[in-house]
């Protein structure tokens, strides 16, 4: 009741500016903490993957093994190797080597004790739990590398991704330039059809395309994964067209006065000014191709030497379901390239998503 008169409170009120900025800082810190916890949960499966890929298979079937990659701890005593156990002595737990196991009492030696004084412990050693030491295992990665013929898969995946990206970007740039800079009959109608193809499920055109490619002898080659991209794609055309439209026409017209033809204008004016959009489209397509599953499954599943990574690790998983350490190592190796490239190029990438998404 006398709060208003309390001098301490009044002085606190006078320092209101500091208190307010402190409170604001606290609010920001707690929001950031909340976001960090959420993000931690979101990415936790990745930590699981990393952790599992560094474990020995035997650790996963041993009761009482720790979560982190570890092996049972051992120590040497008089030239012999002995397992280390967590031994409760006088209320504290000590890590000791079991040198002489006995039924009701056993002899232990402290690994840190150079003189090796034997410690006799009363109790059943089988009730003790083993001590573990942190030991990441990289054998899983080398096993996957050789079993899967990983260099071959990396080469196939990268080669297909690069070739199909070149095809897609070149053709989409030409088409986008046509839509952005020329007037021709039926253009608006064509553009609407282009956008409409986005909602067309690819399954509906899949089977005739498969039959034709098979008749052409393309089944079991890379051609079905590359050739269709020579004919431009709605998403890429849309993104590039939007970008080309933002380039002032005066530049084209000035070049035209100097006698430049349409191809020349595209090459020396439009493309150099559209590097961010071209980069975004290239990245999108590269990752689309790197991660694609359905089309390589149709055309390459019977050709191990021509296969891409996603197909190969899916088949690997079907074979080695019971070996989670190998599977997680394979998953990590498959995502390594896309994730690293993403972090290197994330700005260009995320801007591209925004251009394609929002304008529609």
């Amino acid at each position: 009741m006398t709060a208003k008169a309390d001098p301490r409170l009044r002085s606190f009120g006078e320092r209101g500016a500091i208190a307010r900025s402190y409170r604001r800082y606290l609010a920001r810190a707690s929001l950031t903490l909340f976001a960090a916890v959420l993000l931690g949960g979101y990415l936790l499966p990745m930590l699981y993957m990393l952790n599992t890929s560094l474990q020995q298979p035997s650790q996963r079937v041993t009761a009482g093994a720790p979560v982190y990659p570890a092996v049972p701890a051992t120590g040497t005593y008089q030239g012999q190797t002995y397992p280390i156990y967590d031994v409760p002595i006088n209320g504290t737990t000590r890590e000791l080597m079991l040198t002489e196991p006995g039924r009701e009492s056993s002899t232990f030696v402290d690994p840190a004790d150079a003189s090796g004084t034997p410690i006799v412990w009363q109790g059943r050693w089988r009730t003790l739990s083993q001590s573990w030491t942190f030991a990441p295992e990289i054998d899983n990665f080398t096993t996957v590398w050789t079993q899967l013929n990983f260099p071959r898969l990396l080469f196939n995946t990268a080669a297909i991704a690069i070739l199909s990206t070149l095809a897609a970007v070149l053709s989409s740039a030409l088409v986008a330039y046509g839509f952005a800079r020329f007037r021709f009959p039926g253009k608006n109608m064509m553009f609407v059809i282009l956008l409409a193809t986005i909602i067309l499920p690819f399954q509906v055109t899949l089977i005739p395309t498969y039959i034709v490619f098979t008749k052409l002898g393309w089944n079991g080659t890379w051609l079905p994964l590359i050739v269709p991209h020579l004919f431009a794609n709605a998403f890429n055309v849309f993104l590039l067209r939007q970008y080309f439209l933002s380039i002032p026409r005066d530049l084209d017209e000035a070049a035209m006065m100097d006698g430049a033809g349409p191809f020349r204008i595209l090459r020396s004016i439009i493309l150099p000014l559209s590097v961010p959009a071209i980069t975004a489209v290239s990245l999108f397509h590269f990752f689309f191709s790197w991660n694609d599953f359905f089309v390589p499954l149709l055309y390459l599943s019977g050709k191990p030497e021509l296969q891409t990574l996603p197909i190969a690790i899916q088949q690997y998983n079907a074979l080695y379901v019971s070996e989670p350490t190998l599977i997680q190592a394979a998953a990590l190796m498959t995502m390594a390239v896309p994730v690293v490239v993403f972090f290197l190029a994330q700005r260009a990438f995320m801007r591209g998503v925004v251009i394609t998404g929002v304008e529609k």
């Binding site: 929001l31 030409l174 046509g178 020329f182 064509m190 909602i199 431009a232 925004v354 929002v358």
Partner: protein, 320 residues
């Protein structure tokens, strides 16, 4: 799409008809068609042609291993679909999954976008990048990670649930829990939706928020009365794209059980059924009919969504 047409008209400068009519404009049209040519050829060869071919194919019993024995069967494939338990199961599984996954994806992508848009958050760009990142993980690899993470004995999710005293289900082997589990796996795919929502949030004029703050509106009221209405075209776009991709769901289901559809056909999504009919059993005529069924369903749902949104979506730039 109508918006796009307006853009074309608005951005193409109108030169005086007289000057551009005649050979000059004809030449421009020829160049335009040359540049658009690759797409036009592709439209005929890879879209329109196959679209018609698959409609014709769906009226036959075409089998790739014995193509000469092809017979016209009329609507038999479509009649067979009506009584095919796998097609029925494929549609049921797809709808069950869609009912859980689409709302979850939409709410999560909007929620994360609001979070990483907040000016109060430290390190906003780091959060944006990291929340976006999982969509770059090859879906097969991501699925393998989740298979391990959701394992009832050795996976971490049930380990965490056990720590807080909750019994964890056998996510991937239960006909009930498989759909929430797949929706959870789908959360790694929210990246693009989140980023599009983020751009939408940034395009809401700040004056509107300031004006309503003066009127005494709280954050929740502002979100519901200002953010959601102004974002509605973007939310509609996201729902349409999410719905289309859900009806084409394949990779995760195929990776999970190597295409078997376990447990008890719960993951026999319609697209997986199409794949099995056409490419494992070589019944391509029947597969084409399933493809057309899928196409018609997606088309009807898209039109339905647009019709539903007609009165509810607010276009700041006028009617679209």
């Amino acid at each position: 799409m109508a918006q796009a047409t307006e853009l074309v008209q608005a951005r193409t400068p109108r030169f005086g008809r007289g000057r551009w009519f005649g050979t000059e404009s004809r030449r421009e049209a020829v160049w335009g068609l040359i540049f658009v040519g690759p797409w036009l050829i592709g439209l005929v060869l890879l879209t329109a042609g196959p679209l018609i071919a698959s409609l014709v194919l769906s009226l036959t019993d075409f089998n790739l291993s014995n193509p000469d024995a092809v017979r016209f069967v009329g609507l038999d494939n479509y009649a067979a679909m009506a009584s095919d338990p796998n097609v029925r199961q494929g549609l049921i599984a797809t709808v069950k999954f869609a009912i859980i996954a689409i709302p979850l994806t939409m709410v999560a992508s909007l929620g994360v976008a609001v979070l990483v848009n907040s000016p109060k958050l430290f390190g906003r760009n780091v959060f944006r990048t990291l929340f976006y990142m999982p969509i770059q993980i090859p879906l097969v690899a991501g699925t393998l990670v989740w298979i391990g993470f959701l394992n009832p004995e050795t996976g971490w999710l049930n380990g965490i649930l056990k720590l807080v005293g909750l019994p964890g289900p056998d996510w991937l082997n239960s006909e009930t829990w498989i759909y929430p589990a797949l929706a959870l796996i789908g959360l790694w795919g929210i990246g693009n939706f989140m980023l599009i929502n983020l751009a939408g949030l940034q395009s809401v004029p700040t004056e509107l928020y300031e004006a309503s703050r003066i009127d005494g509106a709280g954050p929740w009221t502002m979100f519901r009365r200002i953010t959601i209405p102004l974002m509605s075209p973007i939310l509609l776009y996201n729902v349409v794209i999410c719905m289309i991709t859900t009806f084409q769901y394949f990779v995760v289901a195929y990776t999970l059980t190597n295409g078997r559809g376990d447990p008890n056909n719960a993951t026999l999504f319609i697209n997986l059924d199409l794949y099995r009919e056409a490419f494992q059993y070589s019944r391509m005529g029947y597969g084409a009919a399933i493809g057309w069924l899928l196409f018609v369903i997606v088309l009807l749902l898209t039109l339905g969504l647009f019709a539903f949104a007609r009165k509810r979506v607010y276009y700041a730039g006028g009617e679209a």
